[in-house]
């Protein structure tokens, strides 16, 4: 495992290239801790207000998963990019279930936001972008 600490976080939104977006850097204002694991690279940013955002990058340089954990829900539109619409539609459709998490599972997009007040967590990944031999269970 290789560990590097970069002063300026720079990661990307789901499904896009690692180098394509710097919005997260502005948003998080936190240290970007980069680790390389078997089959993927992980950017983990911790902001001063306790939010932790992780972005999983494939060997091809694409963000195949993102996750978040902290005292509030981050700007998901920024993390999910073009996948935001699917989450919006699911949120609008989930009217009968109340006080529960939001889960989206389609053939090419898997999303959850859960937890409760003061302690939220969630994740999203694109199955078709998962690197070879990497399980979605690594996304947490």
């Amino acid at each position: 495992m290789i560990l590097t600490l970069a002063a300026a976080p720079a990661a990307a939104v789901l499904g896009e290239y690692e180098s394509s977006v710097s919005l997260d850097q502005q948003y998080m204002r936190g240290e970007d801790r980069v680790t390389t694991s078997q089959g993927y690279k992980l950017h983990q940013m911790t902001s001063p207000n306790g939010l932790v955002v992780s972005e999983y990058v494939s060997p091809e340089g694409k963000v195949f998963a993102v996750s978040w954990r902290g005292p509030f829900i981050p700007n998901l539109q920024q993390l999910l990019g073009s996948y935001t619409t699917q989450v919006q539609q699911a949120a609008q459709a989930q009217t009968r279930r109340r006080g529960g998490p939001l889960v989206v599972r389609t053939s090419d997009f898997v999303f959850v936001n859960g937890g409760h007040m003061r302690s939220f967590h969630g994740s999203a990944y694109v199955p078709s972008l998962l690197p070879k031999d990497v399980s979605p269970e690594v996304v947490r």
Partner: protein, 421 residues
């Protein structure tokens, strides 16, 4: 009937953080059933009636409701009793729809410059509520939370929701109405006091997208006194302030139209709230405990009367389908039975058994509000799954919610609060 908020009327400094009035006036005449002006009830009583029913929208499954009286601070006549308020052990603080206040004037919580503090609260379903923070005396039976900060959910907000709180942009779900919220408000009685994480959540420099001020209409993060943070009213009572007990009756597996019970204040403080033989499950710093199922530990588990289903694993892992007409609810082909073990950080553990039936078969065929065997997704796979013991768990149990920092009966270590049942 529609309601709108009239302009803030300055009335000088009160109690340090208060410098204005939030006036929720009805327009179009008439009065709602909730806008009665009655004095607080006599003291000496520590319980209120609760009922699982379909709520004000007549379609809420497993909604646990009660009535809450709020008064202008110090007043015994300038009051309103709001029915159909959801009892929520998964959040803290009282939140009431502006329209349910029927014209009651309440002083605003402000920052040091006199700007009214506004709050945005996000739900895990990615719905949000938004509106100003005000001060009120909250009366629940004989208990009073004096000059408590409460959240007014604005049906006609003075300011637009800040983009930093709109996690899904303009495509999020606005719950600022009775029809969307399914209730007139939320009474949050979780096992923590404040609704945001101190220190720092009331400091603008920390950029937590929850509390705002909007000078000149431009909303920005707020810095204000911690006494203005919306807080679990039980923790503010002068007595019976260490938690609550929710007691709901046993109901049949087929469900029941409604179910009546009690919300009792205090734990081990009076003859009606003794822990007895209940086991204490202390929670971690994030208010979670661990549920073990089939040898796997799910460490983000909790109990929540604001959840109308049991959140159990996920439909993909279970190999079943969500209901086509009720996303998030399970519609299994046959009954699923579970035996799990809950463990507190104080080293206690105990078994829980429950079943999950087909939601469509139960609700669509009966219209029953009280269902003890409905479930739905918690996550998407083992790494994100957890157990949320929602309203179905409460039937046939006495469930205690111990507030962090308020002491623990029997000397158990529970620095972040606890559950007991």
């Amino acid at each position: 009937m529609t309601f709108k908020k009239s302009p803030i009327v300055s009335m000088g400094l009160l109690l340090g953080v208060v410098s204005g009035l939030i006036v929720v006036a009805s327009c179009g005449g008439g009065s709602s059933s909730s806008s009665t002006t009655t004095p607080p009830p006599p003291t000496g009583n520590n319980s209120v009636d609760v009922e699982v029913n379909l709520g004000p929208t007549d379609d809420y499954v497993n909604g646990l409701f009660t009535s809450v009286q709020v008064c202008a601070p110090g007043s015994t006549t300038n009051c309103v009793t709001v029915p159909d308020v959801l009892v929520d052990t998964g959040s803290s603080g009282l939140r009431l729809l502006s329209g349910a206040l029927g014209g009651l004037s309440l002083p605003a919580v402000t920052d040091s410059s006199g700007n009214d503090v506004q709050e945005c609260v996000q739900f895990i379903s990615l719905a949000y509520i938004w509106g100003p923070v005000a001060q009120a005396d909250i009366h629940l039976s004989g208990e009073t939370a004096s000059s408590a900060a409460i959240h007014i959910i604005s049906e006609s907000p003075q300011y637009a929701v800040p983009a930093s709180c709109l996690t899904l942009g303009t495509g999020g779900v606005d719950d600022n109405s009775v029809s969307a919220l399914g209730a007139n408000g939320i009474l949050g009685v979780a096992n923590y006091a404040q609704d945001c994480v101190l220190p720092g959540c009331n400091q603008a420099s920390n950029e937590v997208p929850q509390y705002y001020v909007c000078p000149s209409g431009n909303c920005q993060f707020a810095t204000f006194s911690s006494s203005g943070i919306v807080t679990n009213p039980v923790s503010l009572f002068s007595q019976d302030n260490n938690g609550v007990l929710i007691s709901l009756p046993t109901i049949p597996a087929a469900g029941q139209l409604t179910a009546s019970g009690l919300l009792i204040f205090g734990i081990g403080t009076q003859s009606n709230n003794a822990l007895g033989s209940a086991t204490i499950y202390a929670v971690d710093a994030n208010s979670y405990f661990t549920t073990t199922y089939n040898g796997t530990e799910y460490s983000n588990s909790f109990i929540d009367s604001g959840s109308n289903a049991l959140a159990v694993l996920d439909h993909n892992t279970l190999g079943i389908n969500d209901c086509a007409d009720a996303p998030g609810f399970y519609c299994p082909g046959s009954t699923l039975n579970f035996n799990v073990t809950n463990s507190g950080i104080n080293g206690t553990s105990g078994a829980v058994s429950f079943s999950i039936e087909n939601f469509d078969n139960l609700f669509d065929n009966t219209g029953f509000a009280a269902l003890n065997d409905v479930g739905g997704d918690s996550g998407t796979s083992t790494s994100t799954d957890y157990f949320d013991f929602g309203v179905p768990f409460f039937f046939g149990r006495n469930v205690f919610v111990g507030i962090a920092g308020k002491g623990v009966p029997n000397g158990v270590s529970a620095p972040y609060g606890y559950w007991a049942y």
